[in-house]
Symmetry: C2
Subunit: 269 residues, 2 copies
């Protein structure tokens, strides 16, 4: 059993349905993932911790690969943390992996790039088993148009048009390595891989690509919508339940090497 | 608009998590799918209906293709029923299809065969997005052994050993056309297709195949376990959330013609 102070990194998944987002809020706003994690750790070890998270997720947004770090001197072997923590956590939050990091590691600032996936259920009648994990929009969507529009968003751009008010970023230039429209079983899946994301950026991209798929916007409009820096030119902000923070990368590897299937030109459509 | 009395058949899907089973119970036992459907119909048309269901499902059990029928003189075109009904129903119940049947049709008695699927999440850490739709059993399972055991259960047998107390059946001989162990993405899926199922039969089959996969029972034990007519010889009753009533068939077609992939010898394992 160790008891020196360590910088602990955890990878976790959660179903965001029951939470008012990841970030801790005043109790009257209801349970948050961070509050649940920090309070549970205190119950387990009597230790107050403060977590850094790779990506803030809003109420109803899910995570398959969120990453957090915190300093702790809890006397538990690193490899035993996931099982022990999971035995105290509610079943809609699961710790997947643990590791120790150097003192400079910060889950948010050290992240090199992230992957988000947004799911749309476009069938006339919603799939009851996906209702909490996809946006039900029962409309005919032209996926080829959506795919062309997504291509215009790839690369290094000023994404001010795709940022909701209320974000903390002061700079708006981000690099979207990949913005891909594909299929996941019966659902349409929009995958965004980038070096950083503005507040609600993926949900606004999803709402904009949906408007393209419906024919309300043209793929060729994207460059001008980007340069307009006018939020009203983009589509609506898609609802939270369709969004999942899938993966956060910290090493040197490029997205192509981690997710080669996303970069193959053979379209999944 | 028609207003003659019709025998209406509906196909529906539901997430059973929030319900105390399909069958209507005394209100103090909580909401049921049947109660929700009948009460919603009364609110829509001021008409009291009594439904027959193809297969009773217990608390927490799901359906992707449940079938019901009821007599109604509600003045609504048949094809408009799914959309109208869905607009009043909670989002965890969706009507998929409607059709009119002859007066002899009864969703339960007219059913020729049914398909159930049971899902097991055998990974060490449960998938948070499957926790309500699969049984989490973090154990190493020998799927080849499970598959051999399942093969012994196929055919016409007395399934008394695999029937829980509390069932209404007085006869115990059923034909299991197919009992297959396969993979569905990351989950193990046990698929049962048969002409009838005893109370908790699929959940007891799932618990028994799990015991075989763990090495607690041998595939070759199945014939003797069947003939023993001793419930204690079979495995535990697997929990409800892993079970889905997938499909009910009423026509002449054999299961092989409706689900050919289940009968191909190429194993999905």
């Amino acid at each position: 059993m160790e008891d020196r102070t360590r910088n602990i990194r955890l990878t976790l998944a959660y179903d965001g349905t029951a939470y008012h987002g990841f970030q801790r809020q005043a109790p009257q706003h209801g349970a948050t993932v961070q509050g649940t994690l920090e309070d549970t750790w205190r119950r387990m070890f009597g230790e107050e911790i403060r977590m850094n998270m790779a990506g803030r997720t809003d109420a109803g947004v899910h995570a398959a690969g969120q990453v957090i770090n915190f300093w702790s001197s809890a006397p538990i072997p690193l490899e035993k943390i996931p099982k022990a923590f999971n035995s105290y956590l509610p079943r809609d939050i699961r710790i997947l992996r643990s590791r120790e990091e150097g003192e400079k590691f910060n889950a948010r600032r050290s992240a090199r790039w992230k992957r988000y996936d947004y799911r749309i259920d476009h069938h006339e009648i919603a799939d009851v088993f996906q209702r909490l994990y996809a946006w039900h929009e029962p409309v005919r969507l032209d996926r080829e148009r959506m795919r062309r529009a997504a291509g215009f968003l790839e690369g290094k751009h000023d994404f001010y048009t795709f940022a909701a008010a209320g974000g903390v970023s002061r700079t708006f230039t981000r690099t979207l390595y990949r913005c891909r429209v594909g299929l996941e079983e019966e659902l349409i899946r929009i995958t965004c891989v980038g070096d950083g994301f503005l507040y609600n950026m993926v949900r606004i991209i999803a709402g904009t690509l949906l408007a393209v798929g419906k024919g309300k916007l043209k793929p060729e409009d994207m460059p001008e919508i980007l340069s307009s820096r006018d939020r009203s030119r983009a589509g609506q902000t898609a609802p939270p339940q369709g969004l999942t923070l899938t993966y956060v990368h910290y090493g040197e590897e490029e997205p192509e090497t981690v997710f080669p299937e996303l970069f193959r030109e053979s379209s999944p459509l």
